[in-house]
């Protein structure tokens, strides 16, 4: 075990993937100097400037280039510097990378990983802070994964790279410098499939992912002092969605709260709520409640940004509403 920051765990995964498979390569803006957060720092010295390829600011074409390279046998990783910039690559991602396997009747595989960081942290404003995962869940052929811990970041990134489908690997900038134990030996790596139960409980289930999974755990600690025993599920993969893990927990707790940093409207929470309502309505003893950001672009002001991101308190209140025990006063 080593204690690593998330950003270091990501770099370790990239290094391991590059070392073990010559088909792996990295493309992106400034990747030869490590990018803005250092994820690729030092890799060009080890793997050369063809496998670690600096690209112009042409996201659409670079994602298409990587999809084309994947279609003929490479296993490319594209770093899209901010999630907001993936909008420029929607044609190649949605129309080509996601669909080539299906459209070709299974003849073509697109083992492409797109690393994107995002999240509302650092007062960077509306073009450098979004959480856009819901868009990609809607696209057949794409896989979406959003780790919350350094150990998951490493193991899930390796799983994404080794996967034969296009995978969006969503990193939260606010987690880059948080530390955690990461197994050194690949044989000890955390399991990469499906959701993980971060905390077991009997009274209510909070489903979350990425940075909000930590807020969910904090909310569970607060609620425990009130005698509400909360189970926290970190989904990790949003596509395919491990709905069985959610349903199993709801069958136990009968109350469900979904917490995400993306705007609540049209978010992943709506998909989970609808699926649970359709599959386990009889198990629910309270309303399924969503906690998400308000319906606004991410503001630049640090004070407004702090209001934009759903708080631990908001999750606590949502659980109280769901279990029918609203607090007398909000502290």
């Amino acid at each position: 075990m080593s204690e690593l920051r998330t950003i270091d765990a990501i770099r370790a995964a990239l290094d391991e993937a590059l070392a073990s498979d010559k088909a792996v390569c990295i493309l992106g803006e400034d990747v030869t100097v490590g990018g803005p957060f250092g994820a690729t720092k030092g890799l060009v010295e080890r793997y050369g400037d063809w496998r670690i390829r600096n690209t112009p600011i042409s996201e659409g074409t670079v994602v298409g280039l990587a999809a084309g390279a994947a279609a003929v046998g490479l296993r490319p990783i594209v770093e899209v510097m901010f999630v907001d910039f993936i909008t420029l690559a929607m044609d190649q991602l949605v129309n080509h990378a996601a669909k080539l396997h299906y459209m070709s009747g299974g003849q073509i595989r697109v083992p492409l990983t797109i690393r994107i960081q995002g999240g509302a942290v650092g007062a960077m404003g509306a073009h450098h802070s979004q959480s856009l995962e819901a868009w990609f869940l809607h696209v057949p052929g794409l896989k979406v994964v959003a780790p919350s811990t350094p150990a998951d970041a490493k193991a899930l990134l390796l799983a994404a790279i080794r996967d034969d489908d296009p995978v969006l690997f969503l990193e939260h900038r606010g987690l880059y410098w948080s530390r955690g134990e990461v197994p050194d030996d690949p044989a000890d790596a955390v399991p990469t499939g499906g959701a993980v139960t971060r905390r077991t409980g009997t009274d209510a289930t909070i489903v979350s992912w990425s940075r909000m999974a930590h807020s969910a755990e904090e909310a569970a600690v607060v609620l425990r002092t009130d005698g509400i025993d909360v189970e926290v599920i970190d989904l990790r993969w949003l596509a395919p969605l491990d709905i069985e893990a959610v349903l199993a927990s709801v069958r136990k707790t009968h109350h469900l709260v979904i917490a995400h940093e993306a705007v609540e409207r049209g978010g992943v929470g709506a998909e989970i709520a609808a699926t649970v309502a359709a599959s386990a309505r009889e198990e629910l003893r309270g309303p399924v409640t969503r906690v998400g950001a308000p319906f606004a672009p991410v503001p630049a002001s640090a004070e407004l940004e702090a209001l934009f991101v759903p708080s631990v308190e908001a999750i606590v209140q949502a659980v109280r509403r769901s279990v029918g025990r609203p607090a007398a006063a909000v502290g």
Binding site: K22, A23, C25, W50, R51, R53, T55, P56, S58, G60, T61, V62, V63, G64, L65, A66, A67, G68, A69, A70, A71, V72, G73, L74, P76, D91, Q92, N95, H96, L100, H101, Y102, M103, S104, G105, G106, Q107, I108, R109, V110, P111, P140, G141, K143, V145, A159, R162, D163, D164, D165, T192, G193, G194, W237, P240
Partner: protein
């Protein structure tokens, strides 16, 4: 008149192959047009009748391992690269025996076993994909060349310019074949850009380029041959702008009222197959009495008839096929 060099480097068999290939494509497209009119083929069908010289001339200079990416008008490119007419027609007809098991259709042909990786319904969308194959060739030291076919309409798309820039910057083995047929969908090129010749864009990015008569199969063959040679020798990308004309509408059913009948008849007079046939007769490769030409046409039409018959007898996809191949694998 199609120009033959004074002492052609090709032997007669090779020259006849080009004619046979053009006739196969013409017969194929005329057949699918007929089947479409009869409701045996559905969907959107973009035919390239009249443009066969570009596909055949270009494909004749790439090898089996080289990879080709087509646009939405790509039947000719797939066939020229060696795709089987029967499996292609089955795909157009939505049969499970088609190249893509009926999931691709006319605009998403994929025949990777003959190096035709994919086509696309998005104008200019295939250029970055071909660029990626060229990059993969360098990274993997494979020595293959990637080729993208696109129309003049792609020249005003961002991905076109981004791709030319990267191809040039990285010196990638990419051959860009622009079929300038004068119209993007229903609009003449002049209404989309002041740039009359798309090859001018290549100059901006420092890519060697030429504008040639696309209805002269040998001119295409020569220009693309040079481009492929340059790419294989590590000399980077080349842009070939082939001036041509589609004799049909943008899609089957398009009455094409946006163009003058005189324009159509002018271009019919420059039909690449008739011109090349004349050149071969002049050269003495074909007899002037027309028997050999007739035989080539008849063989092509018979081959396509047989292909159509078998293709249409093929099974339609099963309901369960709807949900297969969405993913290549489950997550680990």
């Amino acid at each position: 008149m199609t120009s033959l060099p004074p002492s052609p480097p090709d032997d007669s068999a090779e020259l006849l192959d080009l004619l046979e290939s053009m006739w196969l494509i013409r017969a194929f497209e005329e057949k699918v047009s007929e089947l479409y009119a009869r409701g045996r083929i559905k969907g959107l069908l973009h035919l390239g009748i009249g443009q066969e010289g570009v596909a055949v001339g270009a494909a004749s200079r790439v090898g089996g391992d080289d990879v080709v990416f087509g646009g939405h008008r790509a039947h000719a490119h797939a066939l020229a690269k060696g795709a089987d007419p029967e499996r292609l027609l089955a795909e157009l007809a939505g049969r499970s025996t088609g190249y893509c098991a009926g999931k691709g259709g006319s605009m998403h042909i994929s025949a990777p076993e003959v190096g035709f990786v994919t086509a696309t319904g998005i104008v200019a969308g295939n250029i970055p994909l071909a660029l990626g194959a060229a990059y993969a060739s360098v990274v993997g030291d494979r020595g293959i060349v990637a080729m993208a076919f696109f129309g003049d309409g792609a020249g005003q798309a961002g991905q076109f310019h981004e791709s030319l820039n990267i191809a040039s910057l990285w010196n990638l083995p990419l051959v860009l074949v622009c079929e300038n047929n004068g119209y993007a969908e229903f609009t003449p090129l002049s209404a989309h850009t002041r740039v009359e010749r798309l090859a001018i864009h290549a100059a901006t990015y420092g890519i060697p380029a030429s504008t040639i008569d696309g209805n002269d199969v040998l001119a295409v063959r020569a220009a693309v041959g040079e481009a492929v040679q340059r790419a294989r020798a590590g000399g980077g990308p080349t842009f070939v702008e082939a001036l041509t004309y589609r004799l049909r509408g943008h899609y089957e059913g398009d009455p094409a009222k946006y163009r003058e009948l005189s324009e159509l008849s002018d271009w019919k007079a420059r039909d690449p197959i008739a011109r090349y046939t004349g050149a071969l007769v002049d050269r003495g490769t074909l007899d002037a009495d027309g028997t050999a030409v007739d035989r080539i046409e008849r063989n092509a039409r018979e081959r396509v008839e047989r292909a159509a018959e078998s293709a249409l007898a093929g099974p339609i996809p099963k309901p369960s096929d709807l949900l297969t191949n969405v993913y290549a694998s489950e997550p680990a």
